[in-house]
């Protein structure tokens, strides 16, 4: 086997491999490993920071969410209360308005009835007065002048015209 038989190359193999390894070790340790190790550590710390800040943000977010939910609940309750109050107020107003309107209608009805009644009474009185006046006037004319039929007829017509005129005057 050449690896055991070629004794002459042993010294150079051992020497160069150890020396080369030492040089590679120094080169890698000084120039090659540090940037990569730094990058690894930097990334590790960045990831760790990111995770912790993300967790913090999540906790904050949850807190805000809980607060908002509480606020929302409160707002809902408030809104419900306002709606209820408005509803009650509206109902109260409606009832009040209804009562007022009913009272007004009743009053108007009463007033109208009273007016009708008084107008009727007045009319009746007027009619009675005019009838009496007519009767009195006719009778008066009739009694004063006992004239012929033609004359009496004219007298009657005259008295009727007179009554009508006086009625028209009182109406105006």
């Amino acid at each position: 086997m050449p690896q055991f038989e070629q004794v002459g190359v042993f010294s150079s193999l051992i020497f160069w491999s150890l020396v080369s390894f030492a040089i590679l070790f120094v080169l890698l340790k000084k120039y090659a490993f540090p940037p990569i190790l730094e990058a690894l550590e930097e990334r590790e710390s960045k990831i760790r920071n990111d995770i912790s800040s993300a967790e913090q943000l999540r906790a904050e977010g949850q807190k805000i969410k809980a607060e908002l939910e509480a606020e929302l609940k409160k707002a809902h309750e408030k809104a419900n209360t306002i709606v209820q109050l408005a509803h009650d107020e509206a109902k109260k107003n409606q009832d009040k308005l209804l009562q007022e309107t009913q009272a007004k209608i009743k009053q108007m009805q009463q007033e109208a009835e009273y007016e009708i009644q008084s107008s009727r009474n007045k009319l009746f009185n007027d009619i009675r007065n005019y009838a009496a006046e007519l009767t009195v006037a006719s009778v008066e004319k009739f009694l004063r002048k006992r004239l012929d039929d033609q004359t009496s007829q004219e007298l009657i017509n005259e008295s009727i015209d007179e009554v009508i005129r006086s009625m028209e005057q009182s109406a105006n």
């Binding site: 086997m1 190359v9 590679l24 890698l28 990569i36 690894l40 930097e42």
Partner: protein, 243 residues
Amino acid sequence: MESPLHHFELHPLVHINILGLDLSINKAILAMWAGMAVVFFLFKAAGKRDSSLVPGKLQSVLEIGMEFIRGMVEEFIGKEEGKKYFPFIATVFFFVLACNLIGLVPGSYTITSQLVVTGAFAICIFIMTLFIGFAKHGGHFLSILVPPGVPKIMVPLMVPIEIISMVARPISLSVRLFANMTAGHTVLAVLFGLAMSASLVIGWMPFGFTVIINGLEIAIAFIQAYIFTTLTCVYIGDVINLH
């Protein structure tokens, strides 16, 4: 048919001789340097974009590798202590992986198929663990030779057993990597030799196998780099956290 082990032979390309020591450059060393260069420039290219927070494809792949090794180091050595050893462990992983993978390029060479190389690394790691152990625990480090809960009467028996098991560590570490790499390449060489020597009618079969085995070898390159690195972590972790 030429020997399937033929391609493990090394011939000097540039002759260097210092103090009587032959330090000639050969194919294996060139391949290793190529692998190292790839590793270094990949890392440089990935880190060039000012290590952005959103990584590119290359950076993502390397980061996965780094994270993987970091997890391993933290598991076996410890979170705080591990930081000190991370660059070394990561270099071991990427060095072994690059050497394993570059050998799969046709015409290249897998330096980890040389037992002297894997052995040198294993012995260095072993010696390093001893240094770390003594530096951290002083004389108390020797208690690693006595597993906890062992009756005193058993200590004379346990100490040699523990010494053997300690010494076996670099051996197993180096032989495992060497054997896996050598075996894979030998199988590939045998199959390719068969494909080349047989007629086309039957030759496609071993050639097809070389394709499959090549895929398998890529997986093995990763697995062996992983095992080598994990065991290195375990050995260092053992001497840092005594029992």
